[in-house]
Symmetry: D4
Subunit: 249 residues, 8 copies
């Protein structure tokens, strides 16, 4: 609806002020002092809220989780430290923490999981990033298939799993060092692939630049890339695509 139409409907009384305000980008978040939280934003998407925990002060983080608990809204924290977890669970004992990925969830009403997202890694060292992607996809209502340690240096391992991977609606490919996993999988399946370069490696991997460039330059068709180590971003987009497909069934 055009701005002009909104205004005309407001003028004529057809459209309540509150609705028009939101349509025009008005106040739809809550300022809880240490942060502004968009409780409404995710309603539109049907998802819970996500918090980037790294660097957040303990009292602030506890306050955020308490606010969600009080409102009974799902929330998932990423890159939470064990110390942060320990502080939060004193106030909100229902939180669940995954040490490998640093995901800290409060889920009073977990989303129903549907469809399938496959999360694959090149090596074992990529698992923390992959697990962040997997947990993110689950939080956002997707079933997840984990296929770890199938990098191209031992490519037969990947082949033995490829049929399972092909069943997913979307694939997240997590790899460091040479980062070839994304392109190889994309060449073998006909579903969209979200590639995640990781900062695993040393020397000329330059903290993930090598796999990032490798993935961006792949000539395999049907792959796009997120930031280095951004398991969350890939898991979110994977779940989004998966649900758009699965919900149509």
């Amino acid at each position: 609806m055009e701005i002009r139409e909104v205004l005309e409907q407001v003028k004529s009384g057809e459209l309540p002020l509150e609705e028009a305000e939101i349509m025009l980008g008005g106040q739809e978040y809550e300022d809880i002092g240490c942060a502004k939280i968009d409780f409404h934003r995710n309603k539109r998407r049907g998802f819970g809220e996500v918090i980037f925990c790294r660097g957040k002060k303990l009292p602030h983080l506890v306050h955020i989780y308490e606010t969600f608990r009080d409102r009974q809204v799902n929330v998932m924290g990423t890159r939470a430290s064990r110390e942060q977890y320990d502080a939060v669970r004193l106030a909100v004992p229902e939180v669940v923490y995954d040490e490998i990925s640093g995901v800290l969830k409060y889920e009073p009403f977990p989303m129903e999981r549907m469809g399938l997202v496959a999360v694959c890694t090149g090596g074992t060292a990529d698992i923390p990033v992959a697990e962040e992607a997997a947990q993110t996809a689950e939080f956002h209502g997707s079933e997840v298939l984990r296929v770890f340690d199938v990098g191209v240096a031992g490519i037969h391992r990947l082949f033995s799993k490829i049929e399972e991977i092909r069943k997913a609606n979307c694939i997240v490919a997590v790899a460091g060092m040479e980062g070839a996993l994304g392109g190889v999988i994309t060449g073998l399946v006909d579903k969209p692939v979200i590639a995640v370069p990781t900062s695993i490696g040393y020397g000329a991997s330059f903290e993930g630049v090598a796999p990032l460039l490798s993935m961006l330059n792949s000539c395999a068709e049907g792959m796009a890339v997120v930031n280095i180590d951004n398991g969350f971003g890939a898991g979110y987009m994977g779940a989004q695509i998966n649900r758009l497909i699965a919900e149509r069934k």
Copy 2:
């Protein structure tokens, strides 16, 4: 199906050799001398074939188009020069050429278009890349909405189009220079966004590095990035996602 199973079915006679060969990744391409062409590969995907024209010698390119014409298979060339077009149309007069994007199509049986992909650009200089994305999406069976010149320096232009954009199943956001378009659109819609940085700009844009980094670092949820100027890659993935959703209807 596991390799072991394939072998057991071959041994028992259940599975014909030809099928097993393809399942195990056997010879499914054709070597036409100057290139190996995967006629079979895209059957699986239901798509035509794509050729990267830049740098290809004229006789080779003509031969490739003739081969597709003879087999009556759709083919789309990217980054074709006018000179290449002139050479090809002498041999295959049915080809259609788009000068802005350099797309050169031979489509005896165009795919039925379904769903919707929105292709947006920040400026007018990004249009060649965006048009490559749009034509790629159309070739791969998607309706396309073009929304050009809606970059963040004049962000009100984007707002006036946002409702239309929200109707698409997938958005391709093409932008050079600061590359903020991708993140802004992603924050305003709840569909997957494929961002394409372009090499438009000068100085510290470093031939597209600035928008590439900008897009990779966006904290908007639901966006992934392809290579600089890779309109084809974004259009392909956009169409792939769009059809997976649209076909479920």
Copy 3:
């Protein structure tokens, strides 16, 4: 005024729809086919319109200038080639072209010039960028003092001009290679300095990266930096600051 207030005033009839539309970021540009032009945007600022000419097709550019001529609105093109100038002046003979900077102006009602912006360069090779800055500042209603070829390798030249420079409300410092001019001037004056690195140089200047980094790292207080070779950006901001000061007199 808050969105809610706008809506309330629309509802009550206090505010006309047209006004509300603009306040909420509605349609205030004109789509002339090959570009969207914001005739209204600059009314707010009191400035004419600016067009980036490089890469624009001749008929498009001619059409743009004709549109401005028909509406009698000032327009300044940057990085126009002589060929573009030749095409435009056939249609709009009143245009004025500066070959050094590539600025192509159509100014039916030139702005009154006030205040003073000083534009300085390190060497003679920086003059095209500096002249773009100077002409931009003049187009946007500022008097300009040009002080060229006063780089730090012969720093006494700068000292002989420093009293004149101090009279400006804002200084634009244009320099390539080591780019020290910006920091030296900033240390000698107490007015804001906009530094422009240029791509002049060779080898480890890396097309302007060396002066860009040099300027960003200056510990002189009161300097900020624009993109490499971005004379326009510096001239615009210089004029903006200058007029905000001068208009208060």
Copy 4:
């Protein structure tokens, strides 16, 4: 005044030696052993003195603050650690410390504040840098409006504050990651914007390179950029511009 004129006036006795010395760039600083301090320099600008505390040895820093206390001159330290603060306040109990930004002020005669500088951030993690900018602007005699956590991923938050921001004479825009805040604000206001990229982020943000490039490449008119995390530099220039405008009233 030209050097020749200064010399002629000295020769004729019109000009005292002390004045001529300063005009010609003579000794106007004080060497306090561990540093040379320009007590006179800022007289010209009317501002207090600023000290970069990071890395300074405790006794040196204490000595510097004692010297300013003895002379009753305002001084602001940036990037002071709590340990440095603890050492200084034993000797100079009047100092005021802001833990978030690391600013350590001794202000016997605070400047009168006038005009308005708006300091905006994209996220909460950018606040330390923004607060350094805000406190710097206040120290240099400007009123400050703080508008934090209004980044482009939730752009409606920015819109709800834009009218207030427009009242400032100069805007400081602080953002990490994709760094789009600067360009978006610049497109919405008609005042000069000083953009500060921050090192907040991970992966391909490369410690602030991503937002730095994004800001340098913005095509919004009226923005310039300072070094990564350089809140002080932006706050200083913001105050300088603001006062030049406000003093004219």
Copy 5:
């Protein structure tokens, strides 16, 4: 053997299923929970297994070494910390640890050593990387000549050893900073040289980028390069080449 042939032989009963499975890239690794280990892969090469220890959790690492001990298979860990060594030797006391290189070996049946690999360094600081290369070559069945601290700043040292170096079948050249050692040795011998840049140095060595680029750009014939600090990779390839030559005798 072509896939088609394998299938035909399976069908005809000529080829057992197990063999065909391996030929077609089937399951030939063992999943021990925390990792997938390719016991079979190295059988083909005749080598033991190698584990990258850095970052592996203690219990996982102990479990891996126990598995190899139980199967009596040689294993070499690289970049093992002393803490990892202490944990492993409690469970597998036969392990041997080299503190300089961080190599942790369990070798129930050491390979017979043959031929000669020369491992040279530019300085003493390069020795840890060189020792990793040397121990890797020994583990993989090669005699090793160590020639350390013969960099080009004191090139006469290298000349006094050059005759010995020439006896090797393959040379590993390890150097940081300017990295000239590789090119100088290659110019003096007629055997293949594997160059290893190291991250030793400071400033513009950029953690090994300077010697990496230097080595890649050498115009000496017969040298190739591995990743920065990758002593293992160079030692492996050196041993591989050496044995291919030595076994032919």
Copy 6:
């Protein structure tokens, strides 16, 4: 032999002066005015001479080829243009030119070819570099197997050729863009692999940096890398390794 020993044998008359001079690195090249040519150097290696033609003036190049013709020594020029070929063949009609790779050979006594080097490419665009490698290996006395266009986007093509590749003593893997070919081949064979990144690609391939980094970071064992587009270097080292192995038979 140590320097001391050489000197003692010279003193005693055992060793002729001419021999001692060469052993100590004395004059063993010929200065033909425009270049110094090492006729003796390659005697030691048994190889002909190689000339880098790009940028050489026509008369100089003709003179060099004439000198080799007069001495009846094999010479191979790399990166020769057609114009250079046309000039040289007027003087030395026996030269043979390969337009794809730019190799220009004068071979009065071609080396006997032995063993096998496999040269593989990812795409058709990599063929010029691969052909330079192949011709270099042949010139230096190696049989060559060419396996082109078997990149990882269509990995089944590689598998159908893998058994042939395994017969080589050394493999040269040439690939641009993501550069994954090297790692994938290395994981599938047990022979040394020399990887050559190519500058083929666009955008974030950065003229070959992407495949260079990818190849350096591969965790496949038994691969080393040469400079971007350095087909000659890889072909030389491949031939060197191949002959060291083949000659032992």
Copy 7:
């Protein structure tokens, strides 16, 4: 002399105004319209003037040479094209042009040459830069020894010339690609070495970055580096050092 002292002597009449003006950095250059030329500056150094010709318009360049001819002052142009030479010699027929280096000299009173500067190159492709250095050193009154094509890939060539090189007061070492020449020479002589990286090479030489880094990281004592391809800078500094030593004899 301190500023205060100058002023006191001016006041007392001891010091003429003209002298004081120059001591205080007053006007000592001439503005010839298209450039400001420091005729006086080099008097102090005893050298002629130098002009960077690249990019200068023909009439401007002619005017500059005519001005020097009229004043009978030595001038050396660098990077002059043949077209520039042709234009200048019509007006000033006495100019001498060196096509290899692009040096264009007008020397009515050539400086007496003394001492010795050695200019060495790694390859023949480095000669243009080396020749610029050599001609610059000669113009500034130094004898020059040219030792070209003695790079480390054939290091014996360098050894046969090392005694001659050691006679120089200063060495200029010019090298591209791996850039090892500087460090090797510095390790063999006890005179200062000015290293010049060149942009010769391809691929990972990155237009001279590889030799630049290599030279900066050399651990040989007594070497410093100038910009890529900056033969002039090295020749100037070499001559300056040489004359300071030679004049003392």
Copy 8:
């Protein structure tokens, strides 16, 4: 002397074997187990020995100093930690340690100091690097003038010292951040300047890259650059040039 001549003189008995060995680059260093030390090398130069202490194990370092003490040879360690100093002085109590620069000297027979080297810094944070340069120059027999904290942001401080600086035979200019000091000094003196970029700064200084590029790109004549933070290298070269000039007196 040519190799041939050396050999002829050995043969004829004119030249003793020991001398010839050294002339031909034979064994002239001593291997003390943990390092090879060139006691002879510096005899030629007349200088003591220098040790890079950082990273050296305590017992090794102690052993090295004991060896020099036993031989009564001057030695200077750079970048020694206090812990290293404490360990060394227990064994060699005569050592002198400078905490600011980390220089650790054992000088039984200090060189006579002659001539003058000026060591200047831009800020106080550059002093550790400058002091390393100064102490190095003193150790190598040069008088040193220290002029600290005279950077271009307060350029009048530099002017008040410039006459003193001009008396030096060579200037070392140490600066971080924008690194303009080197170019400004070079423009004001007619002696060779060795510029040292420092890693002081933050953000876009990139650990010293900004001043490094700035210094390399200076158009001031008579300056060359050493590695980031390489005070030793600059001090050594400064002393070398200074003594070559001063010894001629």
